[in-house]
Amino acid sequence: MKSGILAVPRALPCADQQDGAPLPPGGAAFHVDGVDFAYDGAHPTFRSLALTARPGEFVALLGPSGCGKTTLLNLLSGFLPPDSGRITIDGETVTPEMPALGYAFQSPQLFPWLNVLDNVRFGLRMAGRLPDTEQRDKAMAALALVGLEAAAGKFPHQLSGGMQQRVALARALVLEPRLLLMDEPFAALDAITRATLNEELLRLCGRLGQTVLFITHDVEEAVFLADRVVLLGIAPAGIHSELAIDLPRPRRLRETRRLERFTTLTDTLLERISAIVATA
């Protein structure tokens, strides 16, 4: 508790933007090695897929629909076993239950029978290693990270979609995952909420330093967030190409999007996507 990234004293000043002073990287290395997968033998979804993320790296996976994004996610999170090859976090074969893995779903998937605090506390209760009061403190600290301490006693249905998604993020972060897998977590939100949450996510990642794999179909979102964008082709093509995003950090919504480099990068990606779709 005392050394955790969610220790109470450190979480408190978080309401301010603190991108300039990230904590030591708490990220895991992620390896996908020669992964084959097919739902049926005749139509492989992936053939010898390879993907690597450095500790603390923010990787955006961008792809047109039909590229096997859902399948890829199920593989990356261990919900589906690959036919061959290995998927590892820091050398360990991935399983959905492994503590190093945090997961943000497309819809928040909060438990409707628990209030916000108990939703955030859920993972700590399952692990059962901490006494109740410490679980509460940690959950409150995680809620503070996403600016929702005041909503601790509310139930999910009393929150807006954006707030629910932030609670879901806090629920994942409270376990201090070293890899965060995000499956179009903001896709269902309105543009303004989405932009705010994108900025907030970068601020959190700057602080916590975990590795992030962020799946999206929005080119601008990918460029704004990522250190590297990985472009997926139509299945079974696998990875089409990669693009390093050399925009300066900390990134701010309005400033970053106005940079000429931002436009160049999004244009490059858009051209590549058109090429992928054209060959399909």
């Binding site: 239950e97 438990f111 409707p112 859920f122 249905h157």
Partner: protein, 247 residues
């Protein structure tokens, strides 16, 4: 607010129509509401009413309890095993299509007149609709919640305790409500056929001796018991879970 007033006006209106109709008919055909009320007081004072209502509730409780246990087992098995689901679906459909009271004569041949025969009819009446509701409920537990719980580290028994159990509360209470009312209908019908006490017997006996007051008293008690359990007990419990679907 205005719409609510109409709801409150419904029962007094029914009493008015009843009373007006009774005005034009001889009392041995249709007695006045207050005559039925006086009859109720008489039965109450003699202790007869408590004995009959008690007998009926005892049968209801026994049959309903057995049906709940059976429905949980069938519903869970159907939810977990697609094979069992496919196998049981036609049988459940068949048993739900047969009015439970049609089993009463067979039940009485098997078990003789008495508690067990009537209770078995109740079990048949309540079991299948409850089993279907339980099964559909378990199947509808959101896959997303289960995945979220697994990623948060929940193991198999923790999933049952912390996801399946709380997520099943809304449809379990719905199943209880459906089962209780089905059991109650079957109970009254079965008591009219083969019992020596109970509310159903009270109604049937009243008809045989031409005592319309006794019949109406029995009918009123049947309706009130069902209404009280349904809207005051089960619906109240269900209302607590209504917002769950919105999250």
């Amino acid at each position: 607010m205005r719409t609510r007033l109409y709801g409150w006006a419904a029962f007094p209106a029914l009493l008015l129509v009843w009373s007006a109709a009774a005005w034009n008919l001889p009392p041995y055909v249709l007695p006045q509401p207050w005559a039925v009320a006086a009859e109720a007081v008489r039965w109450l004072n003699s202790g007869q009413l408590a004995a009959h209502v008690g007998a009926s509730l005892l049968r209801e409780a026994g049959g309903f309890a057995v049906a709940v246990v059976g429905a949980l087992a069938l519903g869970l098995a159907g939810a977990l095993s697609p094979g069992f689901r496919a196998f049981s679906a036609p049988l459940t459909g068949l048993f739900m299509a047969i009015p439970p009271i049609a089993w009463a004569p067979l039940s009485m041949i098997f078990f003789g007149l008495g508690y067990v025969a009537i209770t078995m009819v109740i079990v048949v009446a309540a079991l299948f609709p409850m089993a279907v509701t339980v099964q559909e409920g378990f199947l509808a537990i959101r896959n997303g919640n289960l995945r979220a719980a697994r990623v948060l580290g929940a193991r198999r028994w923790q999933l049952i305790r912390h996801v399946y159990l709380p997520a099943s509360l809304p449809f379990l209470t719905a199943a209880l409500r459906i089962g209780f009312s089905q059991a109650w209908r079957a109970l009254v019908a079965a008591e009219m056929l083969g019992a020596s006490q109970g509310i159903g017997w009270m109604v049937a006996m009243g008809g045989q001796i031409g005592n319309a007051t006794q019949v109406l008293l029995g009918v009123a008690i049947i309706g009130m018991t069902a209404w009280i359990t349904e809207s005051l007990v089960f619906r109240r419990i269900e209302r607590r879970y209504r917002h769950w679907h919105l999250a």
